[in-house]
């Protein structure tokens, strides 16, 4: 087995008496989609925040490409190749679709403090941006204002911006949220392709999507990972059925 | 410095702080509940003082003058809130700063137009004039002592109002979660008007109390406004407790700074240079205090995480 791309070891985070992250350990290997599921309030977003560096953990480590990145800031982790999408679209709404994509390419490539040459004439950045938009199917909307995009198109743009970062890993926080069945199906096809470019840690509520895509699933309940395994193992796991799937059935 | 002088200066600082609290309480509530930066708060302070001076001149009664200050300032507050301020909720801070700055201009010149350019007369009543003897042989102004007491009573009333009553509960709910108060079936626009009127009334009341020992003139609200902002920023915006602590801190820093800094510099400088350096530094002291607090605690002392 190859070394994992991303490792999370014994991560802990409390807010007062509440243990939001309770000794979490998981990893992400090349080429896989690792889904993280759990009921609302289980601590999924808190966990993502600690992996991306937005929130410092109380204890534990995050390893990325074989080195400990616990001390790095969000921006440094992003530059190291950690690309994420947000649960609620975090885009520059006044910019065009293309500008948002260029933003990603620029951020990853550096040279941000260059103040005199027009950025939208930079061929290399534009090429990366167009390629990413092409991949997610937004090429026709490149010159639209982002605020004018539909909800589904914004989710696609989130993925496109992540793509421009030439990422080593994707962290996706509920990319299907609010999408219709058609939109979900498109995105599923897209993610299925993307895993070969970089592995995906996928947080998702849409179980159909999870079961269709995931190579492995981890179940997070009250900050703890109660089970990790393949789709079939998780489906068969009584503790999971009890704690999570069971609830949903009820 | 002798002990009585120190105690007297501390009392002076507390008195100044209590007055600032009356201004700052409204400002912080208005920000906490409605998310509005109100530069026109100083104008309401001025309205209160002018209303009191006009009433005192007409009736000769200080109590009536105080009542008039609250009523007129609250009324002006309601007027401004329903006509203009209401449209600013949910706008960004920049719009709010500019619009309320415009209100400052309108209020100031409007008042000058009505009352003229000369200061008005407003004096404390005879039964609050003179001094009282306190322990340690401290002779202290009765009126200032009364201000401290009245201010503390108002502060206690406010804490009670916010902490123990139904309106207070709605106000606190409004600070935490605007959608929740809608869900509770509260009439939001009425609550907002009420909070604004409350803040305006307090500011007007402070204007009248202070007008009696300072001068009632156009522009009197400007410097107080900035101080009140310093107070709520130090205390943490939206927190009544923060406003109280911040007000006392600013009051004491300013008063004791004026006394102590020149003395401190006199230890190693020529007297004339020391007085002047000390005075310069004292005039900057509260801003230094504010910058220091914000650098250490970017959301103020009681401003949450």
């Amino acid at each position: 087995m190859t070394d994992p791309i991303l490792t999370v070891q014994n991560l802990n985070k409390s807010f007062g008496a509440l243990k939001a992250t309770d000794n979490v350990t998981l990893d992400l290997r090349a080429g896989e989609i690792h889904a993280l599921i759990g009921p609302n309030g289980a601590g999924k977003s808190t966990l993502i925040a600690q992996i991306t560096g937005a929130l410092p953990p109380d204890s534990g480590n995050v390893g990325f490409l074989g080195r400990d990145i616990s001390g790095l800031s969000t921006a440094e982790r992003a530059r190291a190749g950690m690309a994420r999408t947000f649960q609620i679209s975090a885009l520059a709404m006044d910019y065009t679709v293309l500008q948002n994509a260029v933003l990603g390419a620029l951020g990853a490539r550096g040279g941000v403090f260059q103040m005199l040459r027009p950025v939208m004439r930079n061929k290399a950045l534009l090429e990366t941006a167009h390629q990413a938009l092409d991949t997610v199917g937004l090429s026709d909307h490149a010159h639209k204002r982002t605020a004018d995009l539909s909800h589904g198109q914004r989710r696609q743009l989130e993925v496109a911006v992540a793509l421009t970062l030439a990422p080593k890993v994707f962290l996706m926080d509920e990319p299907m949220a609010g999408l219709g069945s058609e939109g979900s199906a498109q995105l599923i096809t897209l993610l299925d392709r993307l895993r070969h470019q970089a592995p995906i840690l996928l947080i998702e509520h849409d179980m159909d999507a999870v079961f269709a895509l995931a190579d492995r699933i981890s179940v997070l309940v009250y900050g703890q990972i109660i089970a990790t395994g393949t789709v079939d193992e998780i489906r068969a796991n009584p503790a999971v059925r009890q704690a999570y799937l069971g609830e949903e059935d009820a | 410095m002798t002990l009585p002088l120190f105690i007297e200066q501390t009392l002076n600082g507390v008195q100044f702080g209590v007055m600032l609290f009356l201004m700052a309480a409204g400002l912080t509530l208005i920000f906490g509940v409605m998310g509005l930066i109100n530069l026109a708060h100083g104008a309401l302070y001025m309205v209160g003082a002018f209303a009191a001076a006009a009433t005192a001149a007409a009736t000769g009664s200080f109590i009536l003058a105080l009542a008039a200050s609250v009523v007129f300032a609250a009324f002006a507050g309601v007027l401004v809130e329903t006509l203009i301020i209401r449209r600013l909720y949910g706008r960004d801070h920049l719009d709010q700063v500019l619009a309320t700055f415009a209100l400052v201009l309108i209020f100031a010149e409007g008042t000058r137009w009505v009352f003229g350019s000369f200061p008005l007369f407003l004096d404390k009543p005879d039964w609050l004039s003179g001094t009282v003897m306190l322990p340690f042989g401290i002779e202290y102004s009765l009126y200032r002592l009364a201000i401290i007491l009245v201010g503390l009573v108002v502060a206690a009333g406010l804490f009670w109002l916010i902490g123990r009553t139904r309106v207070g509960m709605q106000i606190r709910a409004g600070e935490n979660d605007r959608e929740m108060i809608a869900a509770l079936g509260v009439n939001i626009s009425r609550l907002y008007t009420l909070v604004f009127a409350l803040g305006a009334g307090l500011a007007g009341f402070a204007g009248a109390l202070i007008g009696a020992i300072q001068s009632v003139q156009v522009g009197m609200g400007d410097s107080v406004l900035i101080l009140a902002f310093v107070v709520i920023v130090i205390g943490g915006i939206g927190s009544i407790k923060g406003a109280f602590v911040g007000a006392l801190l600013v009051g004491l820093t300013d008063t004791l700074g004026r006394q102590l800094l020149p003395m401190f510099f006199a230890l190693f400088m020529e007297p004339a240079a020391a007085t002047s350096t000390g005075a310069s530094l004292a005039s900057m002291a509260i801003y230094l205090l504010m910058a220091a607090v914000l650098i250490l605690r970017p959301k103020g002392l009681f401003g949450g995480a």
Partner: protein, 384 residues
């Protein structure tokens, strides 16, 4: 220009006089630009100077004198802009009107350097009396230190031995304390600089109480003085208070009320100076504007009369002759004797006044003469 006509119209309307001939046609006339504070804080002083000045202008009824009035809002940069406008655009011959020393320092040096005359109806910063004096700059009020010096002299004659002195921490404040100390011979119980614009003086009053002083001298212009006096009266400290006239003048005394009664203050003018010119001034001012004239109004009135006296003698286009005519000061000042020293600053008597109540109105009466034929301390530095 609209503001000019409006203000002129108001002044005339108040006088009930016929339209003032606006002398655009007169080639030989004289044009005065008045830059003064008419809006915002301190507008009362500018309004008084303007009203006093216009009263004299209207009484003279000259068709060859045109006045342009503009509001400086008490902002130095606005004052500079207006001075440029008056010199470049209005082509005025004489400038006047500025109330505040800092505004005067911004305007006067440049104006006199461009060959214009400047007559100061109020501000008299020491720089312009000493090394920075100029032959075209005439001060018709006082050098800033004068009233403070008289207060110091009065303190000696009243046998005050241990004064506590305070003023705002800015140049005029420092000049004030320096001026007082220049003549005062007793000891100092304390010397305090307050913040400019400060409104609460509890801390300073506590220091006064603790200092063992036998008297208080203060210079706190405008609202600062009102606040101080009210709080002082309420503090139970009842040491005698001495100050320059600025905190006890007609415009603000009504706002201070009883707190000011009995306070001694120094001034080169009062409405009870017993001369025919003064009585006529007080009466006509009251008739025209419905209020008692203030010190500032008297200064505005004198400034206009000085100007008119020079116009009678010389044409402003002949700068040397006009300058000599101004320097002669051949007019009847409402304050009595008036002459210019070598540095074009007044040599005059400075009186001690006491605040009294006449009926319902607080006002002053002269109780002594503080300094006679007093000139300023900077004249020796002036090399014209």
């Amino acid at each position: 220009m609209t503001i000019k006509s409006l203000i002129t119209a108001t002044a005339i309307g108040a006088l009930g006089a016929l339209a003032l001939p606006t002398a655009h046609a007169q080639a030989e006339g004289l044009k005065v630009g008045m830059i003064t504070t008419l809006s915002g804080g301190g507008a009362g002083l500018g309004i008084d100077v303007r009203d006093g000045f216009m009263l004299a202008v209207n009484q003279a009824g000259r068709s060859d004198l045109e006045v342009v009035i503009e509001d400086d809002q008490r902002k130095p940069d606005i004052a500079v802009q207006l001075a440029d406008k008056m010199i470049q655009s209005e082509k005025v011959d004489v400038l006047t009107g500025i109330i505040w020393s800092n505004l005067a320092m911004a305007v006067v040096p440049a104006a006199t350097a461009q060959g214009k005359f400047y007559l100061s109806p109020n501000a008299g910063p020491s720089q312009l009396a000493g090394r920075g004096c100029h032959q075209n700059y005439f001060n018709v009020a006082w050098q800033n230190d004068n009233l403070h010096e008289a207060a110091g002299a009065y303190a000696n004659s009243a046998e005050l031995k241990n004064s506590f002195i305070l003023a705002p921490n800015y140049p005029a404040g420092k000049d004030a304390l320096t001026g007082y100390k220049r003549f005062y011979e007793g000891a100092l119980a304390g010397e305090v600089y307050t913040k400019l614009g400060q409104t609460d003086y509890a801390a300073e009053i506590a220091q006064i109480r603790a200092s063992g002083a036998d008297s208080v001298f203060f210079f706190l212009p405008g609202g600062m003085g009102i606040s101080f006096l009210k709080q002082y009266a309420d503090s139970g400290v009842d040491l005698p208070v001495v100050g320059p006239a600025f905190s006890f003048d007609q415009g603000i005394l009504q706002a201070v009320g009883d707190a000011a009664l009995g306070v001694k203050n120094t001034s080169q003018w009062n409405k009870d100076i017993d001369t025919a010119a003064n009585a006529a001034f007080v009466a006509s001012f009251q008739e025209a504007y419905g209020r008692l004239p203030s010190l500032y109004a008297s200064q505005g009135f004198d400034t206009a009369n000085l100007l008119i006296s020079a116009m009678d003698k010389a044409d402003v286009k002949d700068a040397d002759a006009f300058r000599a005519a101004l320097k002669a000061a051949d007019f009847t000042s409402v304050r009595g004797a008036f002459a210019f020293g070598d540095n074009n600053h007044p040599i005059q008597d400075i009186y001690v006044r006491e605040v009294i109540k006449e009926g319902d109105v607080y006002t002053n009466k002269i109780v002594a003469t503080g300094l006679s034929n007093h000139a300023d301390a900077y004249a020796a530095d002036c090399k014209m």
